[in-house]
């Protein structure tokens, strides 16, 4: 299957080919890819592409997957404790 046809981020319609191009340019992390391709910025907030891209980064850089950091999870996708809502506190 052609890399252009493999969709890694469904929310933002980003292909494996686009990801590989940025890695070839020298970017190395999920956070870089997110800012330049919008992966993980859509409605699912990386719940789908996060693990796919983590695995891809591990393969590309020949690293164990546990050494590849995943994206920063932001509210509201992250759980919010009720008492923090009541107090209006930091997350």
């Amino acid at each position: 299957m052609r890399k252009e046809d493999i969709i890694m981020c469904r929310c933002e319609d980003v292909s494996l080919d686009q990801i590989h191009k940025l890695l070839e340019e020298g970017y190395t992390t999920y956070e870089d890819l997110k800012r330049l391709l919008r992966v993980g910025m859509g409605p699912c907030q990386a719940n789908t592409c996060g693990h796919l891209i983590q695995r891809e980064l591990a393969t590309y850089f020949k690293k164990p997957i546990e050494e590849v950091p995943v994206h920063k999870v932001r509210p509201l996708v992250i759980g919010v404790p009720l008492k923090k809502i009541a107090k209006g506190e930091e997350k």
Partner: protein, 381 residues
């Protein structure tokens, strides 16, 4: 490692300074950043560019910067899309007093060649029909203000600088600066030692700390400002809608999402950039008041970032009498992204001792010595 110019911080200011020095033919320029690409304030900003300010200095810096942005793609030969649009900023006055202040602001802006104008309620509603007519008194509008993608703009400078020979290292943090007889000797990071006589502090939220390493007390501090993004929808709003008195800015970016932010009046100086529930609470209520239709959208994400605050809410750009070779571009107070083209140009001129494109005294750190503060920028969120 020996370098001629060490720039600390690869945010929009750092990459613009690097590009401008390289463009003027300088070699041996290296940029270090402690995190990933655009991890700091640049990548967290609200992506707006405006010229409607209340101080002359900010008006001039903003106007000249927008003139650069208008041709940035060609000047920097950037292959991507900068998502530049000039659909204006619509700034709401919510009282007669604010309206009268805006009359003065517009007169100042017009005198400096900025095409802003004051609008009555009906005229404002023609530009943004979903405004609640009961939530404001009048407005000002400047068509040539607008939006630019901060990640793409930074990448454009970054790639252009690299092609001119500038080198970069990410995930590298400065730990100390060595000086001798008021001159810089070396900069230490967690990975490398740089022998250099010129250091440029473009460290954004951490500018004060970098100053301290060099023995310079820069009167800036950081403060958390929060933003949220909604789901993307079909285009429904052209300009950024902003209100200082209601504490909100809100725009629909070309991608379709709405970005909106406000400041926390109780924020304390800190490097904390966490997200709070209280922000969502206040933001949602403000939005229901001024643009109820936008409040129907779903919020998908919120985040925070540092404003680097200066005493007069205007940037500090220049050197210092205390330490030869130490330069800074900091204290942008939330507006470093939109002023970056001028930041880079002016600081490069100062460093190379060329005649600067504008009077640099009002931007120099010395303005805070024995000076009563007379020109604080009030047009801020």
């Amino acid at each position: 490692m020996k370098v001629n110019y060490l720039i600390i911080g690869a945010g929009i200011s750092g990459v613009s300074i690097a590009y401008n020095l390289a463009k003027k033919g300088k070699k041996g320029i290296h940029v270090v950043d402690k995190g990933y690409f655009t991890n700091g304030a640049t990548g967290r900003c609200g992506a707006g560019i405006r010229q409607q300010w209340a101080t002359e200095m900010n008006c001039i810096l903003a106007k000249k910067s927008i003139e650069f942005f208008e041709h940035a793609k060609e000047i920097l030969s950037y292959p991507g899309d900068l998502e530049f649009k000039q659909e204006g900023y619509l700034i709401l006055a919510t009282s007669k007093e604010e309206h009268d202040q805006f009359t003065k602001n517009v007169a100042l802006q017009n005198r400096l060649g900025i095409p802003s104008k004051q609008l009555n309620k009906e005229e404002a509603l023609k530009i943004v029909p979903h405004l609640n007519p009961d939530a404001f008194y009048s407005a000002t509008f400047c068509q040539t203000d607008g939006h630019l993608n901060p990640f793409k703009m930074t990448e454009a400078y970054y790639l252009a600088a690299k092609s001119l020979g500038v080198t970069f290292s990410f995930y590298e943090e400065v730990t100390s600066i060595d000086t001798l007889d008021h001159k810089i000797q070396a900069v230490y990071t967690n990975k490398e030692t740089y022998q250099t006589n010129v250091v440029i502090n473009a460290a954004g939220g951490y500018s004060h700390e970098i100053g301290k390493m060099a023995g310079i007390d820069i009167p800036v501090y950081s403060e958390n400002h929060e933003i949220l993004a909604t789901e993307p929808v079909e285009k429904m709003q052209g300009p950024m809608v902003m209100s200082f008195s209601k504490n909100i800015y809100c725009q629909q970016v070309p991608h379709g999402a709405f970005l909106m932010g406000r400041s926390n009046p109780d924020a304390k100086p800190s490097h904390q950039i966490e997200s709070t529930w209280s922000f969502l609470d206040h933001m949602s209520k403000t939005l229901i008041d001024i643009m109820p239709k936008v409040a129907e959208l779903r919020v998908v994400r919120q985040w925070g970032g540092s404003y680097n605050m200066s005493p007069d809410r205007q940037p500090i750009i220049g050197g210092t009498d205390e330490l030869e070779g130490f330069y800074m571009a900091c204290g942008f107070s939330g507006h470093g992204f939109m002023l970056a083209p001028m930041t880079g140009l002016l600081l490069a001129e100062v460093i190379l001792e060329e005649k600067p494109s504008m009077d640099m005294r009002p931007l120099h750190i010395n303005r805070f010595i024995d000076q009563p503060m007379i020109h604080q920028e009030k047009s801020v969120v």
